[in-house]
């Protein structure tokens, strides 16, 4: 039984990881959009974020899995799962990053500009690194949430942990035990991530403590 559940780990992890990468990359253009001074660009980015966030992950997955064909071929279950999770993640992460950037004091931009730094240096060396430190706790919290949300992929047949637990429960009738095992594995995987994040946060804030 344990082996059955454990066999789902690689897919659970890879769905989470690929979705997080898609979400992170996808969040960047949205981020530039909502930070833009151009009203139209802002409105478009704002609209995309609200749309992506507003639709439940499971609905995204069904739409992508059953409704999208690329050149005559349907999206694979894995593809639809990571894309669905990735789209929603991009919208949430853009908001997390925007909050982090707005926490950087106006004096930091002024000092960097007064020194004659180019926008690239202002963002890359001054604002970006400070914002990233603020974003770490929110980012990892989102990542842990995503690990659990990856179980939604079982609804379109991705054989990750919940999918395997479910089919095991159906064939053997041992419902509760197998799901308890799955629950334990989720906790075992997510706790170290949380601990690492808190460690990083403590270490970084000790350095720049006000």
């Amino acid at each position: 039984m344990l082996l059955t559940v454990l066999a789902g780990i690689p897919l659970t992890i890879s769905v989470t990881a690929v979705a997080l990468v898609i979400g992170t990359i996808g969040s960047l253009p949205l981020l530039f959009g909502i930070l833009s001074g151009n009203r139209l660009v802002w409105l478009i980015a704002r609209g995309i974020i609200d749309l992506c966030r507003g639709i439940p992950i499971v609905v995204w997955m069904f739409i992508l899995f059953y409704g999208v064909t690329i050149g005559g071929t349907k999206l694979s279950a894995f593809g639809a799962a990571v894309l669905g999770l990735g789209i929603v993640s991009a919208a949430y992460l853009a908001e997390i990053f925007r909050g982090a950037i707005s926490s950087v004091a106006a004096g930091q931009y002024e000092a960097a500009r007064a020194l004659g730094m180019t926008p690239r240096a202002v963002w890359g060396d001054i604002v970006g690194p400070q914002a990233w430190r603020v974003a770490i706790p929110g980012y990892t919290t989102y990542g842990i949430g995503l690990l659990k949300d990856s179980s939604i992929a079982s609804t379109i047949g991705v054989a990750e942990m919940v999918f395997r637990s479910n089919s095991y429960a159906r064939t053997t009738g041992e419902g509760i035990t197998v799901f308890l095992v799955a629950a334990a594995i989720y906790v075992i995987v997510s706790v170290p991530v949380g601990v690492l994040s808190r460690k990083a946060d403590e270490k970084l804030s000790a350095v720049v403590a006000r």
């Binding site: 004091a105 004096g107 930091q108 002024e110 000092a111 960097a112 500009r113 007064a114 020194l115 004659g116 730094m117 180019t118 240096a121 060396d125 001054i126 690194p129 400070q130 430190r133 350095v207 720049v208 403590a209 006000r210």
Partner: protein, 260 residues
């Protein structure tokens, strides 16, 4: 009374020229027709009641604030606020002026040494070794040789302001702009910053200092500018203005700050 510094201190090059500067925020006019000239190697102090526009003049000089009209010239780099200008011109102007802020604005995520060396690499293209060496030399000059590996927030306010001065000096500016450099500091701690500024003045640096430190304005500066309501109301020899101010608004202001 407005005395031009060129008449009092002849034979010095004009490093900074501000002409017909005007700026408003919405309905609120903060500066109107400000003209000033700063001569090479001199210290110009700017005083006046808060809201007079002193800091705005300083912030317009390096375009942190975009003026509505007027021209700014620093060390031959000219920007006309009403014309379009390239980023290249903007950065050239900013590089010729170093700025020190009331609240220091050090970069909290970098060590003291990196605060002073990174801008040199990014702005002047110096190598890391070269930049670190120059940073160390300046920190030593500021009496902070042992602070290089610390983070700014572990340093006292007076130390942070001296680090900020070192950071600006490291880019070899032609003129240094000080925006109330001691206003956020305890009077005692402010003294150590003023000492550094005096040393800098003695070394021949051209400086424009917005300040409420009247004794610094009187004893260190060669030219005094008094501002009120968005304009310059008096300019000239600091000792003369402090002893016998000609404008009634100056008289009122000096009475308030000197006789408290």
């Amino acid at each position: 009374m407005i005395e031009n510094p060129q008449d009092r201190l002849p034979g010095r090059r004009e490093v900074v020229r501000v002409r017909n500067l005007a700026k408003s925020f919405g309905e609120n006019t903060v500066l109107s027709d400000v003209n000033l000239t700063v001569l090479e190697g001199t210290v110009t102090a700017m005083i006046g009641p808060s809201g007079a526009g002193k800091s705005t003049v300083l912030r317009c000089m390096n375009l942190l604030e975009r003026p509505d009209s007027g021209t700014i010239e620093i060390d031959g780099h000219v920007i006309d606020a009403e014309r379009r200008f390239s980023n290249r011109e903007l950065f050239a102007l900013r590089r010729s002026a170093g700025m020190v802020f009331q609240h220091f604005n050090l970069f909290p995520h970098m060590t003291v040494l990196r605060n002073v060396s990174l801008p040199q690499q990014r702005v002047l293209g110096r190598s890391k070794g070269e930049a670190d060496e120059r940073a160390m030399a300046l920190l030593t000059r500021m009496g902070l040789a042992d602070k290089g590996e610390q983070y700014p927030n572990r340093c006292s306010g007076g130390q942070q302001q001296r680090i900020a001065i070192a950071r600006a000096l490291a880019l070899d500016p032609k003129v240094m702009l000080f925006d109330e450099p001691t206003s956020a500091l305890d009077p005692e701690v402010g003294l150590e910053v003023l000492e550094v500024m005096k040393e800098l003045a003695a070394s021949g640096m051209t400086m424009i200092v917005v300040t409420h430190e009247m004794s610094f304005a009187r004893s260190v500066s060669e030219d005094l500018i008094v501002m009120a309501d968005g304009g310059i109301i008096e300019q000239g020899d600091p000792k003369r203005i402090m002893a016998e101010p000609s404008h009634p608004r100056t008289q009122e202001f000096l009475r308030a700050v000197l006789q408290r």
